[in-house]
């Protein structure tokens, strides 16, 4: 390479390169960054090269290996230009197909990127949401050039900033010499070489460069956000008789952050140009790039770049023939996290131990070897050429006034599109997470993002509207840091996150400051105690006290921010800490010592699901039944209608496979085993134990014979209390009877199960309504010691439209009750149902079965995905069709799917606006279409009506199913505290209402909820009532529920097999369901049930040992029934 001797020669070279551009018609680009190399881009590159050579296409197709494109999730990929066709996750066997299509100007559709939300194919790279919402200034450059070719960089406008600065210096020199140029040449004397003493700054153009950088408003990208221009000005003013230094800090140590690496690998020359400009502006003579040894590719590319720049005369003495000299050397760090702190970095460069020291003196006064030093982050340096090329004003116009320019974030964690994103400052976190990141990867909702690495903090999802800039993030308790952004969803435990970072810092603290070394160690210890279930409220106090002192008393940035993970999680997620410490629960199911077997701790009734699944595997069905029955008084009902929290948290399901079909196994057991097994067993058990009776057996009144009431009655009779059960309707059962249709829950099963609960000495009083037939005072006067309220939530919300009183318009509750209790068929003709919850689906399917009905249409205002009936479903699976979803998660999808198969039409994104009537009878409804707006508090996009999109649907029946609430007016009149949604206010732990002796549970307290939660509430209230009547304190310390009973694992040849697909129970075909109420879902066969049980991972075995075997649920009986 000939050495360039002037800026003119550089300009000439660039012009030549640009005019001599590759004239080949097709360009293939492959990312050769580290992430893509890991996913096979090197092999792909070889394959493409091989193909081009073999087929003699080298003249027609150019191949480029460039720096990182940022979409690391989808690597390796192939970009075809000029069409900008983007093929993601390309394998070598696709190469021929892609090249042939490219030559023909076509696409290979099945390899193109598909938008996971809409399923739409993206033909052009910029159609991909990940790229569409970004502003890729710095990353955009690295994806165009080959990092190992300086000519690529120059061709794309590289070193133009330097050229400009040097030229300007030249101009000023000329101006100084010649008064015509406006200079004051006469007052300064030129030396023999025509050089002048510099007016401001070391070189003629220095002041201009500093000014440009200051004007641009660029702030340090390493995390502190100090204005770069000001820093440079300070260095320029600093006397440096022994020379001054510039350092590029590429010691990027944050877990999960790799933007610096990507820039160094993808475009090393922009760093060199940035540093050259910095040196020109400040008079620095030496530059150092301090890069971690863990970045071998970055080091390799940097070395190549340095070599090429020196050869071309862009580095070294009197570069480009000017009086400006500057050279850069590479220093490799040994990988201590603390060495990204500037004073520790200085020590490390000097060859000493990487330990921070006291500032002041600041590096700018006394840096490496005592010389004034400016240390800037890689990204800061990369921005300098951009500023000079675009101009300071253009740069300052990007972003917000105080935070200009773009910022690169490395977006990782529980998010669909991981990778590097470059966005203008001031964009909201939500935009990055949802628009670019594509939202959550699984079914769980996104809970928080962690920004700024170990020293940063967490920002909860309800603050995602915050703009990203230095000040806002600091106010929210986090920091910008170097730009790591870790997305966390509900399966992330925040205590565990804090513990992870504390463990990292405990090892990476340099150890000089006692409070940092010992403090991080102690915080880790306390967090560890908490995650193991040994935490106390005092631990939280101590943790917070310690964290504040660590922040206050340490010397360097690492120590001062080391407490951030603790402080910010305590600030935003204190309730999660409380759950760990007080309730001994980890709601993310991460802390193993608190969770035990996830299926068991997920069940509100604490059913030992792992245990009965294991027993079914062994064929010990009677024992399995006893395990189920021990926890659950209504096992056959729950085997049909439970929403299966156990399956949602099944470890097999959360690791990517399909969860064990626990409910289907339960259905098998309850169908097969006669309930008497349990009666016999219990009698034997009671005799053996010799249970002591309660001290006072005062009678207890239970109002409401729904699941909560039945469960409370059952538990109380077991404890020996006489119980009287009151209900408004003529038959006990509550929602189970009035709401759940018979095709899901056959009436004989329901009645039989309720009868078993009632046979234990419960007095039943039907047709008695609280407020009308009795009062709380009356009940206490009648001698009842305590009252349990479980009257449910049966009052429907209304649309608030005129005409809701018309005949033909019903609430879902009235409609279902009329049919299920009295057999009245109210629906006829064209039926419309408004709502997207379970009762809407129930109403739709019941209406479809009524004789006069011709068609059923479901109207919902949001997308299918946002239907509450879908709420806990896997979102990712949705895009791929419903079949997959049913496998991963429970009832409701299949449930909606079933409704669809049966002929219910679903119309989403519409809201009703008017009800049309003729002669007092409904004839139709007018609706408006919606589009999706911003995210609301529920994490769903808000529906926004589209003006002018109204349309009318002719209807004969309209069923409003937009939700229910408790009818709690009478309770308020009796002096009980009621909240704004009509729910009874109770202590969440003891379920005691505001009046002594009154307890509440079920839908009355929670609003519409699941059967299993109501059962659990009934049992919990019964236990509280027991303690209340015995005069004991209601509150009890929480216990960790770990598996205790050992059950042999499956034998060798029938090894637990999670890789087998899940066995779904059969359903009767749709045609045979028409106009009847035969149960739709069938039970598993014995072989199927045992095969399904074999899939269980047996999480319980971690906690049990054969020696610990306690008394089994019932003595000695084994073998199948």
């Amino acid at each position: 390479m000939p050495r360039l001797n002037s800026t003119r020669q550089l300009r000439h070279l660039r012009n030549m390169l640009q005019s001599d551009r590759d004239r080949r018609s097709l360009h293939l680009t492959i990312c050769a960054g580290t992430a893509c190399r890991a996913s096979g881009s090197a092999i792909l590159l070889q394959a493409v090269q091989g193909y081009l050579l073999q087929h003699g296409l080298v003249d027609r197709i150019a191949l480029h290996a460039t720096g990182c494109h940022g979409f690391c999730e989808m690597g390796p990929f192939l970009l075809v230009e000029p069409q900008q066709t983007f093929y993601a996750q390309v394998r070598t066997e696709h190469v021929a197909e892609i090249i042939e299509a490219a030559l023909a100007g076509e696409f290979v559709e099945h390899l193109l990127y598909r938008d996971p939300h809409t399923g739409r194919i993206c033909y052009h790279r910029d159609e991909i949401p990940f790229f569409k919402h970004q502003q890729r200034t710095i990353l955009g450059m690295s994806q165009q050039i080959d990092p190992s070719r300086i000519h690529d960089y120059i061709q794309h406008g590289g070193y133009a900033g330097l050229e400009q600065a040097l030229d300007r210096g030249g101009d000023q020199r000329r101006a100084a010499r010649d008064p015509q140029f406006g200079g004051n040449g006469s007052s300064q004397s030129a030396d023999s070489a025509g050089r002048l003493p510099y007016p401001e700054g070391p070189y003629a153009g220095s002041a201009w460069v500093v000014d440009q950088v200051t004007q641009s408003g660029l702030r340090g990208r390493g995390g502190g956000g100090f204005p770069t221009g000001r820093k440079w000005e300070m260095l320029a003013r600093q006397p440096g008789p022994r020379g001054k230094l510039l350092v590029c800090n590429a010691d990027e140590g944050d877990p999960g952050a790799y933007m610096d690496r990507s820039i160094l690998e993808g475009n090393p020359h922009c760093i060199l140009e940035g540093m050259l400009l910095g040196a020109y502006a400040t008079g620095a003579t030496e530059g150092i790039v301090y890069v971690r040894s863990e970045y071998p590719l970055a080091i390799q590319h940097l070395n190549i770049a340095l070599h090429q720049a020196r050869e071309l005369g862009l580095l070294g003495k009197n570069l480009l023939g000017t009086d400006f000299s500057f050279d850069i050397q590479l220093v490799r760090g040994a990988g201590a996290f603390v060495c990204c702190e500037e004073t520790a970095l200085i020590h490390s460069v000097e060859g000493r131990m990487g330990e921070p020291r006291q500032r002041p003196p600041f590096p700018i006064q006394k840096g490496i070897d005592g010389k004034p030093t400016v240390i800037n982050n890689v990204e800061t340096w990369a921005n300098i050429p951009v500023i000079l090329q675009q101009g300071a004003e253009a740069f300052a116009a990007i972003g917000t006034p105080d935070n200009s320019g773009t910022k690169i974030f490395s977006l990782v964690g529980k998010i669909k599109n991981t990778g590097l994103v470059e966005v203008p400052m001031g964009i909201t976190i939500g935009q990055i997470v949802h628009d670019i990141g594509g939202g959550p990867v699984g079914k769980a909702k996104i809970k928080a993002v962690q920004t700024g690495g170990p020293s940063g903090g967490c920002i909860p999802a309800d603050q995602f509207a915050l703009p990203i800039d230095y000040e806002t993030l600091a106010q929210a308790g986090s920091i910008m840091g170097s730009g790591g952004m870790i997305v966390m969803d509900e399966t992330t435990c925040m205590v565990d996150v804090a513990k992870y970072f504390m463990n990292f810092l405990r090892e990476e603290s340099c150890g000089k400051c006692f409070t940092c070394r010992k403090g991080t160690q102690r915080m880790y210890e306390i967090l560890d105690e908490i995650t193991q279930g040994r935490g106390t409220p005092e631990h939280l106090t101590l943790l917070e006290e310690l964290a504040l002192v660590v922040r206050d008393t340490t010397m360097c940035g690492l120590g001062q921010t080391a407490a951030n993970p603790v402080l910010s999680t305590l600030r935003h997620f204190r309730d999660e800490y409380q759950r760990h410490v007080v309730d001994k629960r980890c709601d993310a199911y991460v802390c193993g010592d608190l969770v035990g077997a996830a299926c068991q701790s997920a069940c509100p009734l604490e059913t030992e699901a792992w245990r009965y699944v294991a027993l079914v595997e062994k064929g010990r069905y009677d024992e399995a039944y006893c395990v189920i029955r021990q926890a659950n008084p209504l096992p056959s009902i729950c085997a049909r209608v439970c929403d299966r929290p156990c399956e949602q948290h099944c470890q097999l399901g959360t690791t990517g496979a399909q969860s064990v079909g626990i409910r289907a196994i339960k259905r098998f057991v309850t169908d097969r085993v006669a309930p008497e097994v349990w009666q016999d067993e219990r009698a034997r058990g009671a005799a053996a134990r010799g249970r002591e009776g309660p001290a006072a057996s005062r009678p207890v009144a239970i109002v409401g014979a729904g699941p909560a009431g039945l469960s409370a009655a059952h538990e109380l009779t077991q404890l020996g209390y006489p119980v009287t059960l009151f209900d408004t309707e003529a038959e006990p059962g509550g929602m189970l009877l009035s709401c759940i249709p018979a095709y899901r829950l056959p009436r004989d099963v329901l009645r039989r199960e309720i009868a078993t609960v009632l046979q234990d000495g419960v007095t039943l009083r039907c047709g008695a309504q609280l407020g009308r037939d009795m009062t709380l005072d009356g009940l206490f006067a009648d001698g009842f010691g305590a009252v349990f309220l479980g009257i449910g939530a049966a009052k429907s919300w209304q649309l608030d439209l005129a005409g809701e009183e018309l005949s033909g318009v019903y609430s879902s509750m009235e409609f279902l009750k009329a049919f299920n209790l009295r057999g009245e068929e109210w629906a006829g003709g064209a039926v419309g149902i408004i709502g997207g919850g379970n009762s809407a689906i129930d109403a739709a399917r019941v209406a479809l079965r009524q004789r006069q009905v011709q068609g059923v249409r479901l109207l919902y205002r949001r997308t299918t995905r946002d239907m509450p009936a879908f709420a806990e479903e896997v979102e990712a699976a949705l895009e791929e069709g419903i079949e997959l979803e049913t496998l991963v998660s429970p009832v409701k999808i299949r449930y909606i799917e079933a409704a669809l198969r049966e002929g219910v039409q679903v119309e989403t994104m519409v809201s009703p606006v008017r009800i049309h009537a003729r002669d007092g009878r409904l004839v139709g409804i007018e609706c408006v279409r919606n589009r999706l707006g911003q995210m609301d508090a529920s994490g769903r996009r808000r529906p926004v009506p589209i003006a002018g999109s109204e349309f009318t649907l002719p209807l004969n029946t309209l069923i409003v199913a937009i939700g229910e609430r408790p009818d709690s007016q009478p309770l308020a009149e009796m002096g009980l505290e009621i909240d704004r949604s009509g729910r009874l206010v109770v202590d969440p732990r003891t379920l005691a209402a505001s009046r002594p002796g009154v307890f509440g549970g079920g839908d009355l307290v929670t609003g519409p909820n699941t059967v299993i939660d109501a059962l659990a509430a009934g049992r919990r209230a019964a236990r509280s009532i027991d303690r209340y009547l015995r005069g004991l304190p209601l509150e009890q310390p929480a216990e960790i529920r770990l598996p205790r009973v050992f059950v042999e694992p499956a034998s060798g040849e029938t090894e637990a097999d999670g890789e087998q697909p899940r066995i779904e129970p059969a359903t009767i075909p749709a045609p045979s369901r028409q106009k009847n109420f035969v149960e739709v879902e069938l039970a598993l066969s014995a072989e199927q049930a045992r095969a399904e049980a074999r899939r269980c991972l047996r999480c319980d075995l971690r906690f049990t040992r054969p020696a610990q075997e306690g008394a089994p649920c019932h003595a000695g009986k084994s073998g199948s029934a």
């Binding site: 201590a336 603390v338 131990m353 990487g354 330990e355 020291r357 006291q358 002041p360 003196p361 810092l505 405990r506 090892e507 990476e508 603290s509 340099c510 150890g511 000089k512 400051c513 006692f514 409070t515 070394r517 010992k518 403090g519 991080t520 160690q521 102690r522 210890e525 105690e529 106390t536 005092e538 631990h539 101590l542 006290e545 310690l546 002192v549 206050d552 008393t553 340490t554 010397m555």
Partner: protein
């Protein structure tokens, strides 16, 4: 008036509201000591270069939102600085530092006396029995006064330690004992637990357990409840103390 001070490099600052003029290059600790304000220190030793490891000497500088704590032994005196040596924030931090020190090194008399003087009566962390608080006095003594440099810090974070390279006997070491002499953690180590007759001060062995005699508690060395240095259990641990 102060031109001559500037000229010979003098600096004006205020400590706890008292104006003081010190030489350029002095530390805040020296300035405070000049005025007679007591600041506890552990890693600081006259004659050794300041290091700032123990964080016991923190003082508050700045005002309002910008107020922060710095280690007075390393922070240089600056013109116009306002320093507070015993604000609530400073005292709270010092107490926590002492509690952490007690959690690691309960047997050091120096640490016990400091804790006692600051009214630290309990230690809520899991008790450790370490010999070293890594204050680095010995390292600096060896390097700066003995000009030997036989020992130094090794490792980082939780695994940091002091010793010779690769734990080999050092040819630089002259067995002068300077390192032991300056050690605040082991200078009067209470060895009662292994051998009472070898106890340096004999405090625990000679006196009745101090928890039995509450008066004069402050002046004894085993003042903690529960007593962790001598491991004499007190009848009832205080409620609310995590194990």
């Amino acid at each position: 008036m102060s031109r001559w001070k500037e000229w010979i490099g003098m600096i004006n600052l205020a400590i706890n509201g008292f104006a003081v003029t010190v030489e350029d290059g002095s530390t805040l600790l020296e300035a405070a000591q000049f005025l007679g304000f007591p600041i506890p220190t552990l890693c600081h030793l006259e004659g050794l270069s300041p290091y700032g490891a123990c964080r016991l000497c923190v003082v508050q500088i700045g005002q309002g939102d910008r107020a922060r704590l710095v280690s007075s032994c390393t922070y240089p005196a600056q013109e116009g600085l306002r320093v507070w040596t015993a604000s609530n924030r400073v005292l709270r931090a010092r107490r926590m530092v002492l509690e952490l020190l007690l959690g690691s090194c309960p047997q050091s008399k120096t640490i016990q006396d400091l804790a006692s003087a600051h009214g630290v009566r309990q230690q809520r962390f899991r008790q450790e029995q370490e010999d070293c608080i890594l204050c680095g006095r010995c390292v600096r003594m060896c390097r700066e006064q003995m000009v030997a440099g036989a020992i130094a810090f090794r490792g980082r974070g939780a695994t940091r330690s002091i010793g010779t390279p690769f734990d080999r006997n050092s040819e630089q070491c002259r067995l002068c004992g300077g390192c032991l002499y300056v050690c605040p953690a082991c200078e009067l180590r209470c060895t009662y637990t292994d051998a009472p007759e070898r106890a340096v001060c004999g405090g625990c062995a000679n006196l009745a357990p101090p928890c039995a005699e509450q008066e004069g508690f402050d002046h004894m060395m085993c003042y903690m409840n529960p007593c962790v240095a001598c491991e004499i259990p007190t009848p009832e641990p205080q409620p609310g103390v995590p194990s």
